[in-house]
Structures are given as C-alpha cells and as structure tokens.
C-alpha cells in the first residue's frame, strides 16, 4: 500500500520538474518570494525622514525647539521656512514629508502662562511617515512644554524640581514591546506574508497540475500509464503526499535559512511547529485539490488567485483586525486556511507559543482539512466519471 502511494508521489514530483509552469510556481516562487518580499524592509524602521520647520516665532525658545527636532532620530530637518506656503510647496515636491509650525508669540505665551498650540502637518498618503514625523515633532514640542510646566509648578508650589517633575507626571508610563522589540516593519509583515506565499503558490501549483486529475490532456496520452490509472484513493493521497513532503521542505527552509538570514525572531518549538505543518499543509492541499476540479483550463487558476492575493493577505487578520471588517467578510475568510494559519504561525514562531496556546487555531485548520478532503474526494470521483474531453488540459 505504502509502495503504491510513493509510486504516485514520485510520478507527481517528476511531473512537477518537467512542467516549466509548475516549476515556476512550486519551486521558483517559493524560493524567490522568500527573499524578494523581505528585501525592501531590510532596514526595518524609517529614520531620517526629510522634514521642515516653519518658525513664525523666531525666538530663543523656538530655536531650541528646532535644535531638539534636528537631534531626533526619526527625522531630518532639511529646511527652516519663515512662512507656511514654502513648506507646503516643498511637501508637494516630495522634498519633505511633513513640517511643524511654531506659532507666533510662542515664547511670549508660554512665559505669560498662556497655552500655545504647535501644529504638525504630515503627508496624508504615507502612514509610516505620519507616525514617525508626528511622534518626533510632538515629543520635542511636549518636552518644551513639560520643562516649562515643571518650572511653573516649582515656582508656584514652592517645591524642588524633582517633586515638581513628579507632580507634573505622577505615574509615568513605560511601554515594553514583548515580541518585536525593535519595532521593525519586516518582523511584523514578512512572517505573515511567507505563510500566504506558501498557501497561494501551493494552491495555484496544484491547480496547474490538475489536482488528482481526470481531465488533463496528457491523461489521454498516458492513459496506459499505471499511475494515471491508479485507483482514486491512491491517486489522491499519493499526489497529496508529494505536495506535502515538498512543502514541508519549504517550511524547514523558511525556518532554518530565511529567518536566520533576515534575523526574524525564531522562537518556535518543535512539537507545535510539526503539528502546525501537518494541519496547515493538509488544509491547503485539500483546498487546492477541491479548487483544481473547478477549472477547465490550468492557467485560469493563476488568473483568479493572482487577483485574490491582496484580499487574502488582508483577510489573514494580521494587518487589519477581523472584528473591524463586516461580518460577511469574516465569514468568507473562514474558507481560507490562511485565516487561521497566519495567527497560528505568528503565535508559534514569533511568540514561542506552546501547543495548548495555539490549539484552537490548529483545530480550526484540522476541521478545514477534513471538510476539504471529503469534498476533494467527491469532486475527483465526479471528474473521473465525466467524459475525458472536458476542458483542454
């Protein structure tokens, strides 16, 4: 029995390596994307974003604020303008991505114990610049405010400066990042994308090879070959075995090589990783087997799933929380293995979760695997009984 399964699996591998489209999807895509996606984010964080300051006050305090802004790591003050129009023009020319406006009479107001407002403008199209520029400028402006407030407290309440600092901020907040301590963008985005790459390339690859086919043109040519005429369970499970072993090697490659090269956190324990690999690949392979039966032409699956790549990525919950999506979209997302696989993978690999922590998500993947297995077998059987001239594959 095992021998018959392996025989089908070997035949499938041979087929993969003799079909250029399958090689592109099942071998090259997995390898190239593993390096292609992380490379843009190799520096992880945004620093030295070009910005400007519009100084309408032109006093010692405003110059101190400019000096503090120049020392901030996230931004680089490229110019100091006397009026806003110049800063707006520079932003439109992409010379700067934000600017701070120091208002007229800032020093006078602060010394006179009146509140003054510092406005920060960022480019509305770039979310990362918005965060970096806003944080850097507001930290500088609030520091100036805090220094003056401490002085006011010390003078009005007649307390030493240490006590005045404590009165201004009685319980300071210390923010600790548990699993992405550098705040790197690559650490956040790439591990999730790698799971989606595995899923998409495997599904399209299975569709291109026709799943456990009965409708491929070469079956006409190879109708006498024992593998193509193997009974349904052997054909189905033998081919699944080929994809399973092939993609296990990819998971190993990502874990041992890609994660090392790009220095991503690697806290995965052996048991949860093995269980994850089994249920995730079982779910994706059976899903691919089901979907492959629905296409009459092999390349149609590529066209469909290439379009789907962006929604699939966002439905995986790592970028935009599922509870903020409409409920019908959340329901659709349950069809895809990545919806459960991405959070499970992040918990295991990035956060070092044990098997009990990720069990609920692994159960959901296992349920998907079983449902798609049954569907896959039923559809394959239906295909087997259909006329061989369906489609032109």
């Amino acid at each position: 029995m095992i021998r018959r399964l392996w025989k089908v699996a070997f035949a499938e591998w041979k087929l993969i390596y003799t079909d250029p489209a399958a090689v592109l999807l099942l071998v090259v895509a997995g390898l190239i994307y593993a390096f292609y996606y992380p490379v843009p984010y190799v520096y992880q964080t945004v620093s030295k974003v070009p910005v400007a300051v519009v100084d309408l006050d032109n006093t010692a305090m405003s110059r101190e604020l400019v000096r503090m802004a120049s020392a901030a790591q996230q931004i680089e003050v490229k110019a100091i303008y006397p009026e806003m129009k110049q800063a707006e023009t520079a932003m439109a020319r992409d010379e700067i991505y934000g600017f701070m406006v120091i208002p007229e009479n800032m020093e006078k107001n602060i010394r006179g114990k009146h509140q003054t407002t510092v406005n920060i403008f960022t480019h509305g199209a770039y979310v990362m610049f918005h965060g970096a520029i806003g944080t850097a400028f507001s930290t500088c402006a609030l520091t100036i405010g805090a220094t003056n407030k401490v002085k006011q407290i010390a003078m009005s309440k007649q307390v030493p400066s240490t006590k005045a600092i404590a009165m201004r901020d009685p319980f300071p907040v210390s923010i600790q990042t548990l699993y992405n301590s550098t705040g790197g963008y690559a650490n956040y985005v790439v591990p999730s994308v790698l799971v989606v790459i595995l899923q998409q390339s495997l599904i399209i690859g299975i569709c291109v090879l026709g799943g456990s086919r009965a409708h491929r043109r070469f079956r006409k040519k190879l109708r006498d070959s024992p593998v193509e005429n193997e009974s349904l369970p052997y054909r189905y499970f033998g081919r699944s075995l080929a994809y399973f072993v092939h993609y296990c090697s990819f998971i190993l490659f990502y874990h041992c090589i890609v994660y090392n090269i790009f220095d991503f956190p690697r806290r995965g324990e052996l048991l949860p990783m093995v269980v994850f690999s089994v249920v995730f690949l079982a779910s994706v392979i059976n899903f691919g087997m089901v979907v492959s039966q629905m296409f009459l032409r092999r390349e149609s699956s590529m066209q469909l799933f290439l379009y789907m790549s962006i929604p699939v990525l966002f439905l995986a919950n790592f970028s935009w929380p599922a509870y903020l999506m409409p409920s019908w979209m959340t329901a659709i997302s349950y069809i895809l293995p990545s919806t459960f696989a991405v959070p499970a993978w992040l918990s295991i690999e990035q956060m070092g979760a044990d098997i009990y922590d990720v069990a609920p998500k692994l159960y959901q993947l296992a349920i998907q695997a079983v449902v798609y297995l049954v569907l896959g077998l039923v559809l394959t059987r239906a295909r087997d009984k259909a006329k061989i001239d369906i489609g032109d594959m």
């Binding site: 992409d94 480019h123 918005h130 404590a166």
Partner: protein, 389 residues
C-alpha cells in the same frame, strides 16, 4: 475595409464567448477593488482588545481603569489576576497588550515617588499596537495631570494634521493605493490573456484573417478595448474610494486620470512583452504575477521607498505603480504645486511607449511564427488524411 476588419477582430476577440476574459477584465478587478474598500469600511482602529492587571486596590487604580474603559479605541477584554495570564492571552492573540497597575500605585503617587506603570504590547501588529500604546499613554497622562495640577494647563498643546486625509482614516491611507495596485496587476494579466489566447488555441491564422492579414490591425484590436475598459474601471473605482476624502478639483482629476491611463498602457504593454518573450500563456501569466502581485509592497505607500536598499529602489522606479502613487499622493495635497506631478507623468508616458512598442514588435514576430506553424500543421494533417484515404 480596414475599419470593418478592425471591428470584426474586436468582436471575435472580446465577444467570442470568452467568459474568462470578461471575468479578468471586468468582474474580478471591480469585485476585488470593492471588496478591499469594504474591508476597511470602519475606517479607524477602535475597540482594540487589551488586558489589565490590577495589583493595587485603591481609588486611583479604579479611576484609571474606568478612564481606560471609557476610551473608544480600547476594549478591556480581560482583567488578569497575574501577568502570566495576560501574557498567554497575548500569545494566543486574544488581546493586543496589557497594562499593569502596580502595587502601592496610589500611595507612591501621592508621596511623589513617580511609580512607573508598565504597558506591554505584543509588537506583532504594527497598526493596532501603534494606536493602542498612543491611546493608553494619552489616557494615563491626562489622568496624571489631573492629580496635582488640574488647574494648570499644559503650556504647549500639539495638533497633528494629516494633509489630504483629514480624518487620518486607514481607508484613505491605504485603499486608494490598493485599488490602483489591483488595476496595475489586472492590466498585466489581461494584457497577457488577450494576446496569448490565440496562440494557446491555435487561432492566430483565424484572427489574422479577420484583421485582413494586417498584424497592426490585430494588435490594435487586441489592445485598444482592454486599455479603455480597464482605464474607465480604474477611474471609476478610484473616484468611489476618494469620496471619503476632500473632493478633487477638475485639474487634479484630469492629472490623476491621465496618470492612471498611462499606467494601464504601460502594464498591459508589459504583459504583451511577457507573451512575446515566452509565447506561452502559463509562463507569461506567471511572470506577470511574480512582478505584479507584490508591486504594492515596493511602491512606497506602506513602507517608504527612501528607506529601502538601493537595488530595491531601482526596481521600485521601474514599476509604473510607484509613479502613479506619487501623482495620486501629490493630488491629495491640493493645488499647492502641480509641477512635480509632471515629472512622474513624463516617466509614465515613457514607460507606456516603451512597453507598447516593444510588445507590438515581439507580438508581430510571434504571430508570424505561429501562423507559419499553424499552416505547416494543417498541411501535415491534410497530407496524413490523404495518405490514409
């Protein structure tokens, strides 16, 4: 005569019961774009699930908890008896972070010892973590300033404005770029499909026959309708997404629409070149997918191009999407200065011309080759049937 041939070829290509073509030309790009818009319909991040560990049994701790609960951004899902439980909940993905209100918080705060409140965020979700930590800091700072200096206003107040995206909604930030990226990919895939299905189905001679033997007519009949349809779809979907932001002026609309047209031309031209180079639909679609699918990651809207390595910046420059997004983002700023948009526009026009001229040349050669092959095959079949007869 030429016009007749052109119309007949267009009819045969686009209305010859080609369901897949209409799926990838109309249904999928519009459907996926609207789906993506709908995904971000809540616009801003709210109700982020967090946990809280209350070690201090005091009025101040109760007050802080109440203030955190009243924040619309935060949702206290768990009150953990110890830090370990909250940490496991973070690992499971149930909460995004947790706050520890330490022992003797009130006592030490009243004695001006400045006890630190630790906030632990998962760090694994960039957007929700950013909003969560910012909100927690704001809530706790506001509560702190009320304790001793309630009557004393902060000397400096900061207001952050996102120009062109006043509400700072995530939909405004992302969806405009995502929708353009979807059509960037769509143009490549459709370009590949329209030019390669006659090769796949051995219908080159037939198509050339409809075009009156003119390869130029066949090329024009293939590329013209798809570019116009995709462009109209892009403009329509973009306008639909833009409704939440400040309305575009006529000038801005014209420039954005022109940039989108040249992007569609450049991308469909690139798709045609992939077909010309490979001659096989599967391979050309694969190439289009490898380049087109991740284009959004390289185009600079989520992670800025200036922070990427030099080689990646070069690749980003070659992508039409990068230049369209630059124009679109410039238009968000209003009529400050439209001159910078022209630099990107010139690059897009250059790309559109280059890819289309190269694509037309390569396809002309492919059609010649495939027509010859089809003739040889027909001759062979005829000879075989005569021999068997």
């Amino acid at each position: 005569m030429v016009l007749n041939g052109l119309l007949k070829t267009i009819r045969k290509i686009y209305f010859g019961h080609n369901i897949v073509l209409w799926m990838i030309l109309v249904v999928l790009p519009i459907g996926v774009s609207l789906f993506t818009v709908g995904m971000f319909s809540s616009q801003i991040v709210q109700h982020v699930p967090i946990g809280i560990v209350i070690q201090d049994n005091s009025q101040l701790a109760d007050k802080l908890e109440a203030k955190l609960r009243s924040s619309p951004v935060l949702d206290i899902k768990m009150v953990c008896p110890d830090m370990g439980e909250c940490e496991h909940a973070v690992v499971r993905g149930d909460i995004q972070g947790f706050i520890v209100l330490p022992n003797d918080l009130e006592r030490r705060a009243l004695r001006l010892e400045a006890p630190v409140i630790p906030v632990y965020s998962s760090g694994q979700n960039y957007l929700t973590n950013m909003f969560t930590t910012k909100e927690i800091r704001a809530v706790l700072s506001a509560a702190g300033s009320e304790l001793f200096t309630a009557q004393m206003a902060d000397p400096v107040k900061v207001q952050i404005h996102s120009v062109g995206n006043l509400k700072s909604n995530y939909q405004g930030f992302l969806v405009l770029g995502l929708v353009t990226a979807i059509f960037h990919l769509a143009a490549m895939i459709v370009g590949v499909f329209v030019l390669s299905f006659p090769l796949r189905d051995h219908r080159v001679k037939e198509m050339l026959g409809y075009a009156g033997g003119s390869r130029f007519t066949l090329w024009f009949a293939s590329v013209f309708p798809m570019n116009i349809i995709l462009w109209l779809e892009t403009v329509g979907c973009y306008a639909y997404c833009h409704r939440l932001l400040a309305p575009l002026t006529l000038d801005e609309f014209v420039i954005t629409a022109a940039a989108q047209l040249f992007m569609i031309l450049a991308c469909s031209g690139a798709g045609v070149v992939f077909v010309g180079l490979t001659g096989v639909m599967r391979m050309a679609t694969g190439a289009a997918g490898v380049i087109g699918s991740p284009a959004f990651a390289f185009a600079g809207q989520t992670f800025p191009v200036m922070a990427m390595p030099f080689a990646v910046r070069c690749f980003a420059f070659v992508l039409p999407l990068t230049h369209v997004l630059m124009i679109q983002s410039t238009m968000l700023l209003g009529d400050v200065d439209m001159a910078p948009a022209w630099e990107s526009m010139k690059i897009l026009i250059g790309m559109a011309l280059f890819w289309n001229i190269l694509g037309a040349f390569l396809m002309s050669m492919r059609w010649k080759q495939f027509a010859r092959r089809e003739t040889e095959y027909e001759d062979k079949m005829r000879t075989d049937s005569e021999a068997s007869a």
